[in-house]
Every structure is written in C-alpha cells, then in structure tokens.
C-alpha cells in the first residue's frame, strides 16, 4: 500500500506541476481545445487514482475541478480568469494535501468547501459564455483510458537506474577483457561469432540504459508559467512568458540540480528585473514585460538562457548596495571593473532588492544559485543592458550524458573531442592544407580560409612523441562556438565512439583544459578536452571575423565552375548498353532485392521502405539477385530506373548530338571516344507522371451525410482523399470546422443537411429521373469530382 501511495504522490506532484503551467497557458488562449483537454485529462487522472486509494478529500477536489472543466468543454461555461484562479486554488490545495500525505501517510482531516465553493461561486457568474466554445462530443472514460495507454510508464528510483548503468558499464569492461583473452587464446571461429553476438546486444543495452536517464527539459520548464503568473499578479505586473527549446534532453540528475536555481532566477526577474507599470510606461516600454526562457545544446554543454526586458542591472547601484550591506569596502569598490561590479550580485550576503520581499528574499541569493551550478560543473553568465533588460545564461555540462566523441592521440595518449564541435578533419599532409609559421605562431590555411593552429601537445604542455609517424598527424577544424574556429593538430585520429561523460575531479576541471572524463570500451580512462578551454589556454584569438581572406572569391569561382560542369552518371543497363544521365536528377542509387519489384495494374513498381515508386521497366526483371535502381527525383515525385551497374561519373561534354524525336534517349555524347546515350529525364517523368492533384494550400473538407451501409466510407472516401479532399462522415466534425461541400445519397433523404453548405447529391440509378434532376450517378467518377470542384470553387469565391 505504501508503494502505491508513493507512486501516487510522485505522479500527482508531477501532474500538478504540469497542470499549473497548462492552466496558465490555456487562460491566455481559452479557445485552445487541446490545452483544455490536456488539463481535463490530468485532473481526471488524479481523480481516478485517488478513488482507488480511498482519499476522499483528494477525490472531491479533483472531481470539482474536473466537473468545472467539463462544463467549459461542453460550452456551458466561459473560461475566464476567475475560473482559472479557482482551479489553481484547487491545484494548490491538492499539492498541500499531497505534502501532508507524504509526511503522515494519511489524508489529513479538513474542509475543502472554501475552494470548491469558490469554483461553484464562479459558476454563478454571467450565463452567456464570453468565449462560446463549440459543444462537442466529450471524451468518454474509455477514450481517456485509451489515451493514457500511449504515455504509460513506470517509475524507477534513480539509485536503481544508476546501479543498472554501473552494472552495464561493468559488463562492457568485462566483455572487453574477455574479448582480449579470446583473441590471445586463438579461439574457435564459432565461439568468436557467438561472442560477437553477445557483444552487440551488450552495446545495444548500454545505449538504452543511457537513454533511460535522459529527460526532456520541458519537465524543468513546466512549473514556470504558473510561478510567473502568480508572481506577476502579486506584484501587479503584466508579464508575457515564453519558453523554447523544450526538446533538449538532459540527464535527470542534472535537471534536479538546475531546478531551484532556474526558479530563483525567474522569480528575481519578476521581482527585481521587471519595472512597475508606470515606470515601464515612463521608460517608453510596453506595459507587458516579457520573460523568455530557452534551452539549447551547444557542443558538450546545455545552455539555458533567461532573458527579461526589465531595467537590467545598474553597476553603480550595485556598488552602493554592496557597500551599505558591508559586502565590500569603499576602497575595494574603487578598484572594481564593470564586470566585477555586476558580479557583486554573486557575493554572499548581497541582495539587490531595497527591501527583502517575501518572494525573492527567501534566504536564497544569487550566491547560492552560483554555488549550486558550480557544484555540477556549470557556470552563470550575466549579459546586462542597463535599462533594457538582463539576460542570465546558465551553462551546464552534459555530465552523464552520452556524447559522440572523436578519439585523438597526442604524445602517446588518447583524448576525446566532442564530435559536435568538429567541423572537418584533414591530414596534415593533405594538399588542401598549408601550414605557415608566422612570427612564432602557426597558421593553417585550408582552401583559402585561415585558422590559428594549436598543437595539442603544446597546449597541454607535453612533449611531442618522436616515435609517432608524422604522416598520421591530422588537423581538426574545431568550432567551439558561433563565430570562433581554430585548427587543432594532433598526432593521430583514432576513431569515434559514443562516450559517457562524467565530471573530472575539481582540480582537474580547474585546469580549464578538460570537460570531463570518460571510460571507453578499452577500460582506460580518457579525458574529454574542453575545446573552448584549449583556446583560452593557448591565448589565441580565434574569432572568424576579418579572416575571410579570399574564401568568398574562391567559393564564387568554385560555384561558377560547378555551374559550367554538369556531371554525368554513366551506367550499364541490363542489356549491356552504356547510357548516361545527369547526376543532378539522381536522388540516390538504391539496391533492393528482386522481390521488392512487383507488377500492378500493368506497370512495374518498387517497394522501398514503406513507399512505392514507379519503375521504368516493361516487366519485372527475372533473376533472383538484387536489383540496382537509380532514383530520379524531380522535386516532387520519384521514378526508379533499373540498371546493372554504375560505371563512372564524368563531366558532361558540351557537344551533344540531339535525338530527332522526343523519347527515352535525349541524344548521344562521346565519352572517352565511345558513344553514350543520354537519358531524357524530362520525357521519363512525363511518362510516369503520377497525375497528382495540384498541391492545394488548404485541402477542402468534404462531409458525407448519412452513411448507413458504409458505402460512402468504403467506396467513396478513398477516391475523395486521393483527389485531395479531407473527408468526414456523419456527425464527426473536424474541430468544429465548417465543411466546404457535402455529399448525400438521394435515396436516403433522412440525412441531416446543413443549409449553408454546397451540396452534391448522388443517385444509385444510372439514368437521371428527369431533366431537373441535378444528382450524379454515384459511380461516375469524373462527373462527381468535377461537381465537387465547381461547388468548392463557388463557395470560395
């Protein structure tokens, strides 16, 4: 029972956090049905599980909220701020009940009639809904349960997850040891084969276990809208809140560590950052302030940016406060740089508010925020525009997250580089690289673009291993951030691996050269290089600005050359004949088993993946083996052209002997002294044009009235959909959208017909009943589609 209760509490806490945010979003846009449905579903879930655990107060509260929301869904009630506030009050009461439940294990005694009453009192308000929601068929319990299935999950304690992760990594290490022993003992091929299979499944398992720890950062953002709404109301400020980048994934444990700092920063923004309304007006700003929280992945870090358009920080005011709060002395204040003045807010004992408010002054200051972030290897950065707003950037490493890393060697040792910041890898001996020594520094010029060159051994303070083969030395073009790039020279490139990154010990992180440690498959720890830190350690300006050189000119020349030189793909056909086709019309060369080709309606088709494409062939080619197909692509449709083999890619000669009549062969060219027939993709595509309806900006909605025997659904609807219509039948509605045209069968006059929608009537008999009969024989496809087209066009004009 305790386990059940714990699961319920954990789930409910999550739901309540989500519901708060969803309610606020819905309040801003009451017409958003999906938002309303989501909230309804959340409350419904709580009601369901609380009933099962016999928690009468929780059940009553969630029932009241569910009821009120259902009224809105049915259009009997308006969605207004009062209602949202009342529902939020219930959400709060549920939260405090759950907290009490967690402490005592019992539902405390108490009376909830105040919050439930508030909800009912709101109900007595104006009867006419402010936003008339269209009444629709409500979701039944079955529907909701069916929807629940799609996001079913189970809860697993984090330590268990960790132990699984450790276990799997141990298995990997043991496997590697075992693999080495197997190799040395010269084991049987069959033993090695079955060991390889084991190996593969272990690798797969490791991958899944690592993914188990990842969570979308959405989870972190979901309670924020609610916090913003409540605070803004308390302060009488108007705030537009938005989040983006919710799809970025972050390790669960990391998420826990950022939650409080993030909430604190958002609170601060509303309390201190955003000015009161009159001040905003005086400053010429809009009454609505905006706060924007966004997340993005940048290399091996996650960047969370909180931006407000408030008053920003005033360095001088900060200094004055710091002196009066005795954080710094007046003498020290004089020596501060502008940046250091801003960073006073991170000093312990500093608070920017003139008075400590109930909201921001909870004993948590920016010093705690900074300390918490540093504990997990993160940094806080301030971007201040005095008078115009403050942006706080939280950068946290993706510890314990999987990154794709490039393994490189320097002075006999392996290091990892995050693959995401690698732009290009070249051999130092490559023709496209030129290395110059300029005034003691080194410069790599790659295809006309110059990069400062760092040698990894020098940056790390190691000696270059002379026994290394100089021909292996490689240059990695690294772009640690936007607008910066450099060339990193390493002794050799090894391979790339999926790596689990963990933070290194603080004194190793403090070198600024490493972003963490990882344990690759060979069981020897490897240091992950901090590509930004290397740059800082080398003290090189890697800004891309001003070193474009003649790159743009070269690019233009290259493009011009490419324009002039159309390329030709030479291939051999099954008959042995050599033909060619312009490379640019080929999407790719596909190799499919012969069984993927089949004949249908007199034409040969190929099934590739889940799609079916026409094939230019008179018959399904005989022969059991695989077939190579050229995929010709005209931007919209695909045609497959079977070939025996690809021969070469050559430059298309300027002289083409054109064919006299249009056909498969556009002409003949001489390639290496041999005549080659040139395929005409224009003609080919015309032969196999799928005759698709012109793409419509909006697909018209077609309603099938009354369809008792299912004829319309089974026979008619597929034709209509193929012709580019969306089809609804009977009482279904597509989000309350008005149909553009409706179809009904003449013989079934009982069908409900909307008066203001153009109507096409269908009859079962071939012949019309009289001259006035405008109905259409139901199997006359051409007439039917034409009638629909004219009706829809008529309605639109």
């Amino acid at each position: 029972m305790d386990d059940l209760l714990n699961d319920f509490l954990a789930e409910t806490a999550e739901i309540l956090a989500e519901a708060g945010g969803a309610l606020v979003a819905w309040e801003a846009d009451p017409a958003d049905r999906a938002g309303l449905d989501a909230i309804f579903r959340l409350v419904h879930t709580i009601k369901g599980s609380s009933g099962f655990l016999s928690l009468p107060r929780v059940t009553a509260l969630s029932h009241a909220a569910e009821d009120a929301l259902d009224q809105v869904r049915r259009g009997n009630r308006a969605a207004d701020a009062a209602l949202v506030t009342a529902v939020l009050a219930i959400v709060d009461r549920l939260s405090s009940l759950c907290a009490a439940l967690g402490n005592s294990g019992k539902e405390p005694q108490g009376d909830d009639s105040d919050v439930i009453g508030a909800l009912v009192a709101v109900d007595q308000g104006p009867a006419a809904p402010a936003v008339p929601a269209e009444p629709v068929a409500a979701l039944t319990d079955e529907d909701i349960n069916a929807e629940l299935q799609s996001w079913r999950s189970i809860r697993v304690p984090l330590p268990l997850l960790d132990s699984v992760m450790t276990g799997v990594t141990d298995i990997v290490l043991a496997r590697n040891e075992f693999a080495r022993l197997l190799r040395e003992s010269g084991a049987d091929a069959s033993v090695i084969a079955s060991f390889d299979r084991l190996s593969d499944s272990i690798a797969g398992m490791r991958q899944s276990v690592s993914q188990m720890r990842m969570q979308r950062i959405d989870k972190l953002f979901s309670p924020l809208p609610r916090i913003v709404r409540d605070l803004a109301q308390d302060f009488g400020k108007k705030v537009r809140f938005s989040t983006s980048g919710g799809e970025v994934e972050l390790d669960r444990e990391m998420m826990e560590n950022i939650r409080d700092p993030l909430i604190h920063i958002v609170r601060n923004a509303i309390d201190h950052g955003i000015e009161p309304l009159d001040e905003r007006v005086a400053a010429g700003k809009g009454i609505h302030a905006s706060i924007d929280v966004s997340a993005r992945q940048s290399g091996n870090q996650i960047e969370i940016v909180v931006r407000d358009d408030g008053r920003g920080l005033s360095p001088d005011a900060l200094v004055a406060k710091a002196i009066s709060a005795r954080v710094i002395g007046a003498a020290e204040a004089k020596t501060l740089t502008p940046r250091e003045k801003l960073e006073l807010i991170f000093r312990p004992g500093f608070s920017t508010a003139a008075k400590i408010t109930a909201i921001s002054g909870r004993g948590v200051g920016m010093d705690i925020v900074k300390a918490n972030l540093e504990k997990i290897g993160g940094v806080v950065e301030l971007r201040n525009e005095e008078g115009r707003g403050l942006t706080i950037v939280l950068r946290v490493p993706m510890t314990l997250t999987i990154i794709s890393g490039l393994m490189v060697r320097a002075s006999g040792q392996y290091f990892a580089i995050p693959r995401g910041s690698v732009r290009e890898i070249l051999l130092e001996t490559s023709d496209s690289v030129r290395i110059d020594r300029v005034g003691g520094g080194e410069l790599a010029t790659v295809r006309g673009e110059q990069f400062p060159l760092l040698r990894l051994e020098h940056v790390l303070g190691c000696t270059v291993d002379d026994s290394e083969d100089q021909d292996d030395r490689a240059i990695i073009l690294v772009r640690p951030g936007q607008g910066h790039s450099y060339a990193l020279s390493v002794a050799a490139i090894h391979d790339h691996e999926e790596l689990v990154i963990k933070p290194a010990a603080p004194m190793i992180m403090a070198t600024g050269l490493y972003a963490g440690t990882t344990l690759p498959d060979n069981g020897r720890p490897v240091l992950l290089l901090d590509v930004q830190g290397l740059l800082a350690a080398a003290g090189v300006d890697a800004s891309e600005a001003g070193r474009i050189h003649d790159a743009s000119a070269e690019a233009a020349a290259e493009a011009a050359a490419a324009r002039d030189a159309a390329q030709l793909l030479l291939f051999r056909e099954a008959g042995g004949r050599t033909r060619g086709v312009r490379l640019s019309v080929i999407e790719r060369v596909e190799e499919v088993p012969a069984s993927a080709l089949f004949e249908s309606a007199g034409a040969v088709k190929a099934q590739i993946g889940t799609e079916i494409f026409p094939v230019h062939a008179a018959m399904v080619p005989a022969g059991p083996e695989a077939v190579k197909l050229l995929r010709l692509h005209d931007g919209q449709s695909v045609l497959c052209y079977p070939i025996a083999a690809v021969i070469d890619i050559v430059r298309l000669p300027d002289a083409v002997q054109l064919a006299s009549a249009p056909g498969l062969i556009a002409g003949v060219v001489l390639i290496g002294g041999e005549p080659v027939e040139l395929i005409d993709p224009f003609w080919l595509m015309a032969q196999y044009g799928t005759g698709q309806a012109a793409p419509l900006l909006r697909q018209p909605l077609c309603r099938l009235s009354d369809d008792a025997d299912g004829w319309a659904t089974n026979f008619l609807a597929p034709i209509l959909r193929g012709a580019g219509y969306r089809v609804v039948s009977g009482d279904e509605t597509a989000d309350g959208e008005r149909p553009d045209v409706q179809l009904c069968l003449v013989d079934e006059q009982s069908a409900p017909v909307a008066a203001d929608v153009p109507l096409v009537r269908l009859r079962s008999s071939v012949a019309a009943t009289g001259p006035d009969d405008d109905s259409i024989y139901r199997y006359d496809r051409g007439a039917l589609l034409e009638a629909l087209r004219t009706r829809v066009a008529g309605a639109g004009s």
């Binding site: 141990d170 190691c462 963990k502 720890p525 240091l527």
Partner: protein, 145 residues
C-alpha cells in the same frame, strides 16, 4: 565500534592511521592515465568498477618529490565531495581496532604533515599520526598559487 577501526598504512614514507569510516576500499592499480597540465599531486586517472578515480601522490602534498607508480601498487580509495580519489600508499600494514583515545598532536610537525594530521594515537608501542584523507586532495593554497 567502527570509530575504533583504523587502517595502518605507510604514506609518504610515514606510518599513519586512517579512520576506517573515511575509507572506501584498498585496491591495486595498473598503469594510471597521465593528466597533462594537472596539479603536481595528481598522479593520474584509473578506472575501477567503471568509475574513474583520480590518483593522488601524498608525497607531493607533504612536500616531498613525487614518486613513480609501480604496477600493482596498492591505493586507498576515498570519496570526497562526490568524487572518487585514491591515495598512493607505500605499504598497507593492517586494519585493527585501537582502543586508545585519539590525542592532540604534540610536538612540532613539518608544515606538510601539520596540515593533514588531525590527532595522534598510541598503537603497539608507537605513536601514529591520525590523518584525514580528504586533506590530501587539495594542495596547500600557497603551493597551488
């Protein structure tokens, strides 16, 4: 009883007692992975049960020249602030209960030892320094600067 359990080891050429609750385990290491540009007392990294540990050379912390790590050398594994470290030990002697009370450090110690020693304890007719392994993790500020 755990409070009375001590690990007697030879660290940086000196016999010391370490409180057993501060210690995770004692293991042997192979060749550690060198960490370029790290502080001098970091002797490298090694992996143990899929965790990466930072190897600390106590000699450097005490102010002695660094020693090379011999393959199969025993190390004392400790956890400090959620990170795993291992102290290179010259020798591991014993794990034993010492009933005698810990006493204040008397006499003048070398500055290196004074920083890491918490107390002294009497064991089998000899006075041992009781050291806190976490003090070995950080270098004295003056040296690090």
């Amino acid at each position: 009883m755990m409070e009375k359990l001590y690990l007697i080891a030879r660290i940086a050429d000196t016999r010391v007692a370490l409180r057993s609750r501060a210690i995770n385990s004692v293991v042997t290491v192979g060749t550690p992975v060198h960490v370029p540009a790290a502080p001098p007392h970091v002797a490298g990294l090694f992996a143990l049960r899929s965790r990466v540990f930072t190897l600390i050379d106590p000699h450097v912390v005490i102010g002695l020249p660094p020693t090379a790590v011999a393959p199969g050398q025993r190390v004392i594994v400790v956890d400090v602030a959620d990170h795993g470290y291992a102290l290179l030990a010259d020798a591991i002697e014993d794990v034993c209960f010492i009933d005698a009370p810990e006493t204040r450090v008397t006499g003048r110690l070398l500055p290196g030892w004074a920083r890491v020693a918490d107390a002294m304890i009497e064991h089998e007719g000899a006075s041992l320094l009781v050291v806190d392994p976490s003090h070995f993790i950080t270098l004295p500020v003056a040296r690090a600067a």
